[in-house]
């Protein structure tokens, strides 16, 4: 089975140790986390995580199920192949001299990125987009000399009115399930 990149989106309770619990599962199953992004969700006590992993569909499905068993994980979905919006943010510090500065600014404009800091020998660029866009910008800037890069990792959301993993829907699903089985 071919290993491909999978995007998992998880809704988790914002409790100490939850990241550790999830990371521990990936470690135990021998998975490498490509990126992981965590932030608050629309509900205060819940966080949303986007995890990108490499693996065959069957293996990722096994990990998804194991993650779902973690008590603090409300829900986790593999949204690979769904119609999604994927975004990543990167900060790139690039060497800039008086002779290269204009050229860099042109590239930044083309990518609809922005310059967030200017120093005598460098420019710091903020760029948002999918990974391909960030990689292309990175490749173009490489010839000027990259001093530092920081990337957030992917965050993702399914397109359309009903999110695949909105808090409201996930919670009501959990409630229904409990009622049905009570």
């Amino acid at each position: 089975m071919a290993a491909t990149k999978h995007t998992l989106v998880a809704l988790v309770e914002n409790k100490p140790g939850v990241l550790n619990r999830m990371a521990s599962l990936f470690r135990r199953r021998g998975f490498n986390i490509e990126s992981i992004a965590v932030g608050h969700s629309e509900v205060p006590h819940l966080s949303r995580m986007t995890i990108v992993v490499d693996g065959s569909t069957a293996m990722v499905e096994q990990v998804r199920k194991q993650l779902d068993k973690v008590i603090d994980v409300v829900r986790v979905s593999d949204i690979t192949g769904d119609d999604t919006v994927d975004r990543e943010l990167a900060l790139i510090k690039v060497k800039a001299t008086s002779s290269t500065r204009n050229e860099i600014i042109e590239i930044v404009d083309i990518f609809r990125a922005s310059i967030v800091d200017v120093a005598s020998g460098s420019l710091t660029i903020e760029v948002t987009g999918d990974e391909d866009k960030i990689n292309s910008l990175f490749n173009l800037l490489r010839s000027f000399g990259i001093k530092e890069i920081a990337r957030t990792g992917r965050i993702a959301m399914t397109r359309g009115a009903s999110g695949s993993l909105s808090v409201e829907e996930s919670l009501s699903k959990a409630r229904n399930k409990r009622q049905k089985t009570a």
């Binding site: 550790n20 199920k65 194991q66 008590i71 829900r75 399930k177 089985t181």
Partner: protein
């Protein structure tokens, strides 16, 4: 009413129906232990090692189906529980472990006896907590018991800093839990159940493989109904033993590495397998790529992560075994599989697997068989791990529900004595036999002091062959009979027993076996028998590592005993 953290814990335990706590105190749980006398309904049993406390709580839980409770202090107390917690995790045993922790201001300072026990037990608990605030304690206790006992059961640990035990708060015990991330599925999906029923109806060579899930959900009658309605042979996993009466005409023993040859052959030939509450452990499946090559598989389990984990499954049904089987039974059509059952019966005649060869030597199998005869199959058998475990699984016939208690997944030597103690405490009216090896017995031998102090009338049979027997068997078969580090010169177990204050007997000859067992049974308290068995006896049948279930190695042909194959009580 205001209560201390320690009182809240005790109140919670009482409300959760806890009768007994196995544990050892220490500095970090002193406030909690100081509170225990206020709750006389909570019996505390002081074990001699925390591993014993964890296994005893497991034995109690496995025998009663209730949540077992163990307690230890911080640091080494907590780490000593780890083996027992892992054992409970792998065998889905409901357990709540409460550990003391250093006071909050000392956490993270590498204080005396401080250890990150929640970090350590993270991969071997269903969930764990550090109670950093006395206000959260009641909720934590409520959740811990709910999580441990519901869904697929498992161990839950509560780490309790010393100062939280002293802090006070108004006590409210929650009537229900609010865990949005925890939703054990109970009812199976109706479409899947319909598919399964259809597959069963179409089957020509159907076979049920039943595991511990049947026992956990108490689905004995449902399983029997399914088997009898559709005339399906039932084989079990090691931990599934006693979920279906072994004297039943449809019972065909245990599968796996040391399973009955005919059970393994049945798996190999079946065209539909109904796997119920089991997880396709590698000791059960043998070479997984060659497992049940002709079968379409229906897998019923409460844990969705078990579906498709090890073996491809055609019809998965996620839900509680009892609920799923009741629904399935409504749809399964009454039918017969006469040819197939005859075939299985022929295989059983040709490959009897549990016949004990005629010998004047004291064979370990004979000892087990005699325990069966003397107890009329009415005892709870608690085993160690290794050869003694396999002989106990093979040569005692389990007709009574939930009558075999054994460490399956983790395979923990030393489990037997404390677990037998816990089982006897939980079921004081039952006869409990601890079947031990001389190796494993010495790993938790100190619990003899506990059973004497607490007057726990466990009967102990040491299958003493002077070796770490199962490993020796592997060395004999695969390492040119080089017995590296397997010979044991044990102590005089009879003197050990006497020193601890219980009677002991040594048995060296066959004719002494039955009288010794009778004497042990007649004695009111705990009793130990040291059976000096044939040292190099091997466990057969055996599926060699890497082989498939079909390639089962049987006992080399010798004299066959005139012992009856099976006797029904």
């Amino acid at each position: 009413m205001k209560m201390t953290g320690a009182q809240i814990i005790c109140e919670g335990l009482v409300r959760e129906g806890v009768e007994v706590i196995f544990g050892i105190l220490g500095g970090a749980v002193l406030p909690l232990y100081d509170t225990l006398p206020q709750y006389p309904q909570l019996r505390h049993i002081l074990t001699r090692h925390e591993q014993g406390a964890a296994h005893a709580a497991e034995g109690y839980a496995r025998a009663t189906g209730k949540v077992g409770v163990c307690m230890a202090t911080s640091g080494p107390g907590a780490t000593n529980l780890v083996t027992g917690i892992a054992d409970a995790y792998l065998d889905s045993v409901p357990l709540v472990a409460i550990t003391g922790q250093v006071a909050r201001p000392f956490i993270g300072k590498d204080a005396f006896q401080e250890i990150d026990i929640t970090g350590i037990t993270l991969p071997i608990t269903k969930h764990n907590y550090v109670a950093l605030d006395v206000g959260s304690l009641a909720r934590i206790v409520k959740e811990a018991f709910y999580l441990a006992g519901s869904g697929r059961p498992g161990p839950v640990l509560i780490d309790l800093p010393r100062d939280v035990q002293i802090d006070q708060v108004e006590f409210h015990y929650p009537s229900r839990v609010n865990l949005p991330g925890y939703k054990p599925p109970l009812q199976g999906h109706s479409v899947q159940i319909k598919k399964a029923a259809k597959l069963i109806d179409e089957a020509e060579r159907p076979l049920i493989i039943a595991g511990r899930g049947v026992i956990v959900s108490g689905a004995y009658n449902e399983l029997k109904q399914l088997a009898e309605t559709a005339q399906i042979a039932v084989i079990t996993t090691l931990l599934g033993i006693s979920c279906f009466p072994e004297s039943h005409i449809l019972s065909f023993g245990m599968l796996g590495m040391h399973g009955m040859a005919y059970a393994n052959m049945a798996v190999d030939a079946a065209d539909v397998i109904i796997a119920i509450g089991m997880r396709f452990d590698d000791r059960a499946t043998a070479k997984v790529s060659a497992f049940a090559p002709h079968a379409r598989i229906i897998h019923i389990d409460i844990d969705p992560a078990e579906i498709g984990k090890n073996v491809r499954v055609d019809v998965p049904i996620v839900g509680d075994v009892k609920a799923v089987l009741s629904a399935l039974n409504k749809q399964v059509i009454s039918t017969e599989h006469i040819d197939w059952l005859h075939q299985l019966d022929d295989w059983r005649k040709e490959h009897p697997s549990t016949v004990i060869r005629g010998s004047e030597e004291l064979l370990p199998q004979y000892v087990i068989r005699q325990i069966y005869e003397s107890t009329r199959g009415q005892a709870i058998i608690v085993t160690g791990v290794g050869q003694n475990q396999m002989w106990a699984a093979q040569h005692y016939w389990y007709n009574k529900p939930n009558s075999l208690i054994s460490s399956g997944g983790l395979g923990t030597m030393g489990f037997e004595l404390p677990a037998a103690m816990g089982a006897k405490v939980g079921c004081p009216d039952e006869i409990v036999w601890c079947v031990a090896g001389d190796g494993g017995f010495q790993m938790t031998i100190q619990e003899l002091a506990t059973i004497v102090q607490e007057k726990v009338a466990v009967k102990i049979a040491i299958i003493n062959n002077g070796y770490l027997g199962m490993v020796r068997q592997w060395q004999e078969l695969f390492y040119g009979r080089r017995y590296v580090a397997t010979p044991l010169s044990g102590p005089d177990f009879v003197k050990i027993a006497q020193a601890y204050g219980l009677p002991g007997l040594r048995v060296t000859r066959k004719e002494e076996v039955a009288p010794a067992i009778e004497e042990a049974m007649e004695y009111q308290g705990p009793f130990l028998i040291d059976f000096m068995v044939e040292p190099e006896e091997n466990v057969y049948p055996m599926v060699l590592p890497g082989a498939s279930l079909a390639e089962v190695l049987e006992e080399p042909k010798g004299e066959v005993a005139a012992w009856p194959r099976r006797s029904t009580p």
